[in-house]
Every structure is written in structure tokens, then in C-alpha cells.
Amino acid sequence: MMSPSMLLRSGGLVAVLAFAVAAPLMVSSRYDLGVLQLALINALLVLGFNFTVGFTRRLSLGHIGFFAIGAYASALLTTEHDASPLVAMAVGVLIASAAALVVSVLTNGLHAHYLTLATLGFGVIVQVVATNWIDLTGGSNGVLGIPVPTAFGIELVEPEQQYYLALALLAAGAALMARIRSTKLGRQAAALRQSERAAESLGIRTDRIKTLTLVLSAAYGAVAGSLYAHTYGYVAPDAFSFALMLTVLAMLVVGGPGTIAGPILGAVILTYLPEMARVGDEFWQLIYGVLLFVMVLWVPKGLAGLAQQAIALARRPPGRSASRPATEAVAR
């Protein structure tokens, strides 16, 4: 038996999936399809970022570093070593996970702004290495001629095919994240977010939770990076700047940290926004800055939280407010 809220949710999920599947048929130009592809890659990137900032509320700002590792692993392994894109993606995920493990061991004891600064350093290190280790990465010229992605041995030459690959990976990523959130690891990450002292006092090894969530976030970031490399056929260090980190942060905060729909929604909206009005990058950085400010101050749970709140309000019979069941108070 499905409760009304479950029906509503699965109905919404089916509608969103149907829309996502039909989207390439509705766009008229290759350019518009390119924006759609970028939105999906961004969504996967932000979804990974959600494991740390959304689940454990640890503001780890090295996420673009993992994205870059995934992109460069795919770029270099396929162009220099003739690896298949799938193998290259898997290797990128492994390298990014190993890097996350090291970052985690070094930063698990840090809190608040110390953690943020240290992990910010990691992102900068990756970009600096990509720029200056010219023998390996080609320096600021980047890597050209990265082959198109493959699936089941088929080269996905058409952008539509690449779009569906990205959509499949995003759907799998979202499903896995939803599953994790509802199991023990998800509950323990939520416990860590709300009181690390209490979590420790119950015997939860919070260091392991921090490490696992960072590794998961790095793995998602690397998959997004690999998709990025194979989709565009070109990577260069200036793609992995702090400006992108700021954009990803804004996407998560606008969408709703800790939810599953929020990061995807935020990524899609903030990918499309700059396309609607073509002005300089600096202008958009300014807009992201203002958005971050406004959301953090007045809508800390993001658009997804706002939607939950609206649903809860609509469902509450008038004049009843004494007892507060879970859904309402969570959306507060």
C-alpha cells in the first residue's frame, strides 16, 4: 500500500524522469542540447558535493579538485594510453577516492573554517599541478582530442546519446544517494551533522563517517569530471578554478543541501540562468554571490526545503498546530 505522500512523490519522480527523457526531443539546436548536457554534468557534480556539505554539513571546498582528477584521468588515459573511456572513468574514480582518503585523514580533526581553508587548499593544489606539471598534463594548453564516451562497447558519437548516458549516470547517482540516506550511513551522517559529540558518545566512529562521505563525494565528482572530458573532448586547468567551486556551492545552496532533488534542481537552474542573459562571467559570479547570501540568510533549506514547507502547509488542517509531526517541523 502506498500512502498519499508516497504516491505524490513517485508521481513527481515519474514526471521529472519523463521530462528528462523527452528533453532532447524538445530542443531545436545542438547548442541547446549542449546546455542540457552541461546541466546534467553539473547536477552530478553538485550531487557529490551534497555528501559532504548536505549530509554531514562539513564545508569541504576541495570538490573541484576531485572533478579535475576525474577529467584529467579520462583525458590522459584515453589519449596517451589508449584506455577505453569506461576504464578511464573507473581509474579516475579510484584516484579521486584515494585522494579523498588522504585529504580526509589529514582534515577529519578540523572543524568549521579550518576545514574549509584546508580543503580549499586541496582544490588549489590540483589546479596548480594541472597548470604546471606540463609533461603530464600539457600545462595550460590542456589536453585535446579526448574520444567520445562509450557504453556497452558503442561509441556515443551523437550528443543525444551522450545526453542519455549522463542522464543514466545521474539517475543512478541520485538513486544510490537516496538509498544511502535511508540506511545506517545516512542516519549516522545526519547524526554527525546535528551533534558530533552525541554521535561519538553513542559509539559512532565519526572519523569513518567523514571519510566515507568525502570518498563518496569525490567518486561522484570524478564521474562528473570524466563525463565532462569525454563530452567536450578537451580539458584545461582554467576550467577547474575557484569560480567553479563557488558556482557549485551556489547550486547546492539554492537547490537545498541534504535533499536529493535540491542539488539537481539547483544545478539545472544555475546552468540555465547564465544562458538566458549573456553577460560577462564576472556578472554571474556577482549574482551567485548575492544568491548565496540571500539563500543562506532567508532560505537555508533551499528551494527543495521551500517546496517541502509549502506541501506541509497545504496539507495541515487549519487551526491545528499544537502537535508537530515530523514532516512539518523538518521543513521549518
Binding site: 542516519r187 545526519a190 546535528q194 559512532i204
Partner: protein, 261 residues
């Protein structure tokens, strides 16, 4: 003879030039309510922090359930069988009552993240067992009616009870209650005393750190008195109440009157 639920030997804690604890030897026997009292600044909080692993002792050892441990992290201590509550509440405020206690109940059940993710038969069994243990603990402290309420929205007194339920759900050998009666009215304190006795009768030892003298005198099997980081007395409530050193150094006239009532 059974091992003590909690035992400290020569426990000493210094920060810089300040000595917070000086060679404290304390034994909490199983099935005992053991109260730790002392004026403000006597070292009660330091004692709790060292026992629960949030501070490292300068010297001395702590053993829980007969196991001496190297203090590394609070989670290691918890896994030896020590559970605690906090003077300043540390609830998972956005989670429901049931979720709070469930997190405690499953924390030490040995199910790994992957097993939990895949939903292996063992993970499912352990999950059901944790849920039952959580429901039992909620029932035990009397929060069954609030099971699905959000923790942060509960009245203060019920939040305190929820912390106790969450600690009990880990099935501890010893429960450390840090000022559980703070902010309670006399009626609630009476109910708290009954609950503390029920915890003991259920099988766990209790280390009760509490300011309220009538509550302590009424419920404790044994009392240890800390003053300036040193244990100055230990015994039954009657022995401690009649100990001239305690009366002179600590309890004072007001509290002695409190005892007589």
C-alpha cells in the same frame, strides 16, 4: 566477583598550572546508583570528560566493564559500554524521537555501511532488532506517545528523557547522567528518581552527577564527594551526610537542612 562497571585509578588531570583532578580512585559497582557530588569547580565535569573520553588524563587509568582502555576517542569508550547524557543537551534536534534512539540502538551493532546499503539478511535482522530496542527504550522512559515528534520541538523535560533513552539504547554497562534533573520541578524530579532506579534494576550501573541534594540522597546507593579535584569522602548517603568533613567543607547548613527533610 564481578568487575566494576567503571573504575578509575590515580586519575589526574592538569591543564597548565591548574589541577582539575588529583589522583581520583573511584569504583562504580554493577547494579549500583553511584552519585558524584561536589561544589561548583570541584572537578565533576572534568571527571565526566575524562571518563567518557572527551579529555585525556594527565595520569591514571579508566576502565569500563573491567577493560582498561587507552583514551583515544569518546566512541571507543562508548564501545566499551559507557553511555552518557549531556548537561547541555546534545540531541539530534531535527530527527524524530524514534530516529534519535534508533541511531543509538544501531550504533554498535556491527553492521557495516555496505551491508546496510545492500540490505543483507544480517543487516535486516540487526535493523529490526535495533528498532525493537529503540522502541523499548522509548517506552521505558515514557515517551511512547511522542515517538514520531521532532526532538527539537519537545518540551525541555522530555528532551532530557530522550537523551536518557538514546543512551540506554546502546545497552551500556554504565550510564553517566550529567545533571539530569537540571530545570526539573519537584514532581519531575520524583519521576526522574524512579527512572534512575529503574535503570539500575534493568541491569546498568548509574553514575549520577547532580546538584540537587534531596534527589541524590533519596536515590543513590553510594555517594562520592569531590572537592578541589580530590575525593574527600565516599559511602552510603547516611555516612556521607554525617561525615563532618563533608558537612564542614561542602554541604553547609542549608543542604544539611535539606537532608533532614
Amino acid at each position: 566477583m564481578t568487575a566494576p562497571a567503571l573504575e578509575t585509578r590515580g586519575l589526574t588531570l592538569r591543564y597548565g598550572g591548574v589541577t582539575a583532578l588529583e589522583s581520583v580512585d573511584l569504583v562504580v559497582r554493577p547494579h549500583t546508583i553511584h552519585a558524584l557530588i561536589g561544589p561548583n569547580g570541584a572537578g565533576k565535569t572534568s571527571f565526566i570528560n575524562v571518563c567518557s573520553g572527551s579529555a585525556s588524563a594527565t595520569a591514571g587509568t579508566v576502565s569500563v566493564g573491567g577493560r582498561t582502555r587507552r583514551a583515544r576517542r569518546p566512541s571507543d569508550v562508548a564501545r566499551c559500554g559507557l553511555a552518557r547524557t549531556f548537561q547541555n543537551l546534545q540531541l539530534f534536534a531535527e530527527a524524530t524521537v524514534l530516529e534519535n534512539v534508533l541511531i543509538g540502538a544501531e550504533a554498535q551493532n556491527g553492521v557495516g555501511p555496505l551491508a546496510s546499503l545492500l540490505g543483507t539478511p544480517r543487516a535486516r535482522r540487526s535493523g529490526r532488532a535495533a528498532r525493537e530496542a529503540a522502541l523499548a527504550a522509548i517506552e521505558f522512559v515514557g515517551l511512547a506517545a511522542e515517538r514520531d515528534h521532532v526532538a527539537g520541538a519537545l518540551p525541555y523535560g522530555k528532551q532530557r528523557l530522550l537523551e536518557i533513552a538514546r543512551a540506554l539504547a546502546t545497552d551500556p554497562a554504565v550510564v553517566l547522567l550529567d545533571e539530569p534533573g537540571a530545570g526539573f520541578n519537584p514532581q519531575e524530579k520524583q519521576e526522574l528518581a524512579d527512572l534512575v532506579r529503574a535503570i539500575r534494576d534493568r541491569g546498568a550501573a548509574v553514575l549520577l552527577v547532580e546538584h540537587d541534594m534531596p534527589l541524590v540522597m533519596g536515590v543513590a546507593d553510594r555517594i562520592s564527594v569531590l572537592n578541589f579535584g580530590t575525593l574527600i569522602a565516599e559511602g552510603t548517603p547516611t555516612e556521607v551526610a554525617n561525615d563532618p568533613a563533608v558537612v564542614d567543607a561542602y554541604l553547609g547548613t542549608d543542604a544539611t537542612e535539606g537532608l533532614a527533610s
